[in-house]
């Protein structure tokens, strides 16, 4: 249990650092930003207490927010992802799997994992850009941002997972 906690903490710090120092500066074609820290929310094991997921997600979002001067923006969006993740994972796990199944491409299969993470990513990006813009004035730009950021992050996450699988 405590080993798991330390692993989480390690992942937390790495994800934060990567997001803040590298990925926050990327704006591909002025629309797509990779939000790799959502990977942190996707990767919770089956059977992790739901309140723990929520608190972790909130903390992760807040950490990123503090560094990018947007308090409440990423934390709000990531907390929603943390709420959905355990329910969505239940739908994807194979029938005879263990209680503490790891949520990764190795255990779920690449296809299922890709679908799971793309749904969570889409929810995150949708809420993130809605909260950022706060209006629907420029809704085409907003849709492009959501779609392209989701796609870019998905590519990154699948790349990481395919490396981990080997």
């Amino acid at each position: 249990m405590s080993l798991d906690l330390f692993k989480r903490l390690g992942l937390f710090i790495i994800m934060c650092a990567v997001q803040i120092l590298i990925l926050n500066h990327i704006h591909l074609f002025d629309v797509a930003t990779p939000f790799l820290f959502v990977y942190f929310a996707i990767s919770f094991r089956r059977g992790t207490p739901k309140w723990a997921i929520l608190l972790w997600c909130f903390a992760m979002g807040l950490a990123v927010d503090v560094f990018s001067n947007t308090p409440g923006l990423a934390s709000g969006a990531l907390t929603l992802v943390g709420l959905i993740q355990p329910y969505l994972l239940e739908l994807f796990v194979p029938r005879d799997s263990t209680e503490d199944l790891e949520c990764s491409a190795a255990t779920l299969g690449m296809g299922k994992y890709a679908l799971l993470s793309s749904i969570l990513l889409f929810v995150f990006c949708l809420l993130f850009f809605v909260l950022e813009a706060f209006t629907f004035y420029n809704w085409i730009y907003w849709l492009i941002c959501t779609g392209s950021s989701t796609a870019l992050t998905l590519v990154l996450i699948l790349a990481i997972e395919s490396i981990r699988k080997k």
């Binding site: 803040i20 120092l21 704006h27 002025d30 207490p49 739901k50 309140w51 929520l54 608190l55 909130f58 979002g61 927010d65 503090v66 560094f67 990018s68 001067n69 947007t70 308090p71 409440g72 923006l73 934390s75 709000g76 907390t79 929603l80 943390g82 709420l83 909260l131």
Partner: protein, 288 residues
């Protein structure tokens, strides 16, 4: 009662979710109006330190270009000073007046050099973090400029860092500026997109000026002294209500490679604000 407790136990994570979301929304809505909240921004100690290390590494790679730019600018300014000095002595036959004026001008302002540690240019509302704070004499609402021109206004201050609202902030930045040598003034306004292009509104219809003329700070607000470079007029439009001109300006500051800035601390500003407040109060008292 038991049913209620059971209900709470079963769905406690939903309540936690609502609580955290509410917290997020409160933070989101309160950030723009609540000035004292420096620790939830990149002005806090840990974030500032991390960004300082990062910018130390990245600034190393842009040093050559920055150096070139500064050398050019320095050369240009030296020539200008030289020319002006010659002109002045030709007219007045007095070689010391200018130095005296310069000293008087400089003694009015205190310049605090600072380094940019975090900077964005691609959001609609960009913010800059600098590595000088309350302990170095930086206060809220001081002006910030760099070698090439105006940068922005200090917004949040912690002990060692400060967050600046740059001209590239579409919702909060309004810098009062004027066309050089013509004294028509308006407000600088950025609408997002290109970080080199901004607009000046409220230039009166009877104003006479040409494309390519320089725009400088007006000195009417107590934030910037008069004459800091803002940019060059590129295009002229009619404003949406047709009552004034709207100028498209090419900003002289390159926000994408901003490293060294100075915070301008105006000693006379306190006196001026106090006077202005007193004037407002007396007007209010009269109208009542």
């Amino acid at each position: 009662m038991y049913n209620l407790l059971d209900f709470l136990r079963k769905y406690h994570h939903w309540f936690l979710f609502l609580l955290l979301e509410a917290l997020s929304v409160v933070m989101l809505l309160s950030y723009n109006s609540y000035q004292g909240n420096a620790w939830l921004s990149s002005a806090n100690r840990i974030a500032g330190k991390v960004y300082e290390v990062e910018s130390g590494v990245t600034s190393f790679f842009s040093l050559t270009r920055v150096n070139e730019e500064l050398t050019l600018r320095n050369f240009y300014l030296e020539r200008q000073v030289d020319q002006l000095r010659r002109l002045y002595t030709d007219i007045t036959n007095d070689t010391t007046v200018e130095e005296r004026n310069e000293l008087r001008f400089l003694s009015q302002y205190k310049l605090i050099p600072a380094k940019v540690v975090a900077n964005t240019i691609n959001k609609p509302d960009n913010l800059i973090t600098i590595n000088k704070g309350k302990d170095d004499g930086v206060e809220v609402d001081m002006g910030v400029a760099c070698g090439n021109g105006v940068v922005g206004v200090v917004y949040l201050v912690s002990d060692h860092y400060a967050v600046v609202i740059p001209a590239l902030n579409s919702s909060a930045s309004r810098i009062s500026c004027a066309i050089r040598n013509r004294n028509y003034f308006g407000y600088l306004h950025w609408t997002g997109g290109d970080p080199q292009t901004a607009y000046i509104e409220d230039i009166p219809r009877h104003a006479k000026f040409k494309k390519g003329e320089w725009v400088v700070t007006s000195g009417y607000s107590s934030i910037f002294p008069q004459g800091i470079l803002v940019g060059q007029i590129e295009k002229v439009f009619n404003s949406s209500d047709g009552l004034s001109y709207k100028l498209q300006v090419r900003l002289s500051t390159d926000f994408s490679c901003l490293r060294d800035v100075v915070v301008i601390s105006d000693k006379s500003a306190i006196e001026r604000t106090r006077l202005l407040e007193a004037a407002r109060d007396s007007i209010k008292a009269k109208s009542n």
